[in-house]
């Protein structure tokens, strides 16, 4: 019920009324808001708690997304309809929807070392070669993967790490045992 209402608001915001540039800003604003929401516990508790007045929540949102009017309006509407928590719970769904509208693909790359700029550039080039230039790439460091890399492309998962190969071999061996 609540989700459908968010869907309505989301549709009203995204279908036809905004230009691509504005949609890009909306996406950046929502991403920024969600990042802040996830990282700052006091903001999080204030926004999802009903004891705080809407005016305070709107002020907080205005501060977080001061540079994007549409994002601010959308979030204020959510607060007005008391749907912010529902939106936050299903944030990935709406961000993904926006990315689909924008033709953007989110890729999370896990490597052994994110300090190797040349290698990261090589990875970026390869990713653009496969999925085009409209990518949202984030790099994550994990020394446990030993070598290679892991890609999370939207819902798809590609494991090209040495640790993944080892685990694959291990699972094959275990299946053989059983």
């Amino acid at each position: 019920m609540s989700s459908a209402t968010i869907n309505d608001l989301f549709h009203a915001l995204t279908i036809g009324t905004l230009s691509k540039h504005e949609l890009e800003r909306l996406y950046a604003g929502l991403s920024n808001f969600i990042d802040t929401f996830n990282s700052d516990r006091s903001i999080k508790s204030c926004l999802i708690n009903d004891i705080y007045p809407s005016s305070l929540k709107i002020d907080i949102i205005s501060e977080i997304v001061s540079d994007c009017k549409h994002t601010r309006n959308f979030l204020e509407a959510l607060i007005e309809f008391n749907l912010l928590k529902t939106f936050v719970d299903s944030r990935e769904f709406f961000l993904k929807k926006l990315r689909m509208i924008l033709g953007k693909i989110k890729i999370e790359v896990t490597t052994v070392n994110t300090a190797q700029i040349e290698k990261l550039q090589l990875v970026r080039e390869n990713l653009e070669n496969i999925w085009g230039e409209n990518l949202e790439i984030t790099f994550k460091e994990d020394s446990n993967i030993i070598g290679g890399l892991i890609l999370q492309v939207e819902d798809k998962f590609f494991d090209g790490s040495l640790n993944g190969k080892i685990n694959e071999l291990k699972n094959l061996n275990l299946e053989g045992e059983l």
């Binding site: 052994v112 190797q116 290698k119 090589l122 990875v123 390869n126 070669n129 496969i130 999925w131 030993i146 070598g147 290679g148 890399l149 890609l151 590609f158 090209g160 040495l162 640790n163 080892i166 071999l169 291990k170 061996n173 275990l174 045992e177 059983l178």
Partner: protein, 171 residues
């Protein structure tokens, strides 16, 4: 002569006395016949009644004795039957218990065999998994010490080739 008189006198005397005696007995007979007869008759009747009663009591006692004997016989036969029934039930129960015990023993034996087999398989698997884990650990250690920039770049390039093929085939 005097002797003769004496003898006659004696005979007379004896005769009178005898006569008196006969008369006495006659009177006595006349007077006592009826009461004595009645007395003996009533006594005889009484004795007869008592004999009848005694016979009746003896008959009753015999009857009771027979009945009791019959009952005792019946009870004895019932007891024998009961004893036989108890013996039969006991024997049946004992054989059932023994049968169950045998079944249980067989089941426990089979279960134990199965458990030993499963435990053996589990242990073998555990050993294999442990060996595998150690090998994996060793491989990981070897790879960590062996990997360098060039190899990592080659690995990444080859991985991207795979991903590209995968994406193309999916599209």
């Amino acid at each position: 002569m005097a002797n003769e008189l004496d003898i006659v006198g004696q005979i007379k005397f004896a005769f009178y006395h005898l006569l008196n005696l006969i008369l006495f007995f006659g009177v006595l007979y006349y007077l006592l016949k009826k009461p004595i007869s009645e007395f003996f008759s009533s006594r005889s009747l009484k004795i007869k009644n008592e004999i009848d009663k005694a016979t009746e009591i003896i008959d009753d006692a015999q009857k009771t004795y027979d009945e009791n004997s019959q009952k005792i016989d019946f009870i004895e036969s019932e007891l024998t039957e009961l004893r036989n029934s108890i013996d039969s039930v006991t024997n049946k129960k004992i054989s059932k218990i023994i049968e169950n015990a045998h079944l249980m023993i067989d089941k426990i034996k089979n279960d134990t065999t199965d458990i030993i087999k499963l435990e053996s398989i589990k242990l073998t698997n555990d050993i294999h998994i442990e060996v595998l884990n150690k090998s994996i650990e060793f491989t990981r250690y070897e790879l960590m010490s062996d990997i360098d920039e060039t190899k990592d770049t080659m690995l990444i390039s080859s991985f991207f080739e795979e991903v590209k093929q995968n994406v193309i085939s999916n599209n």
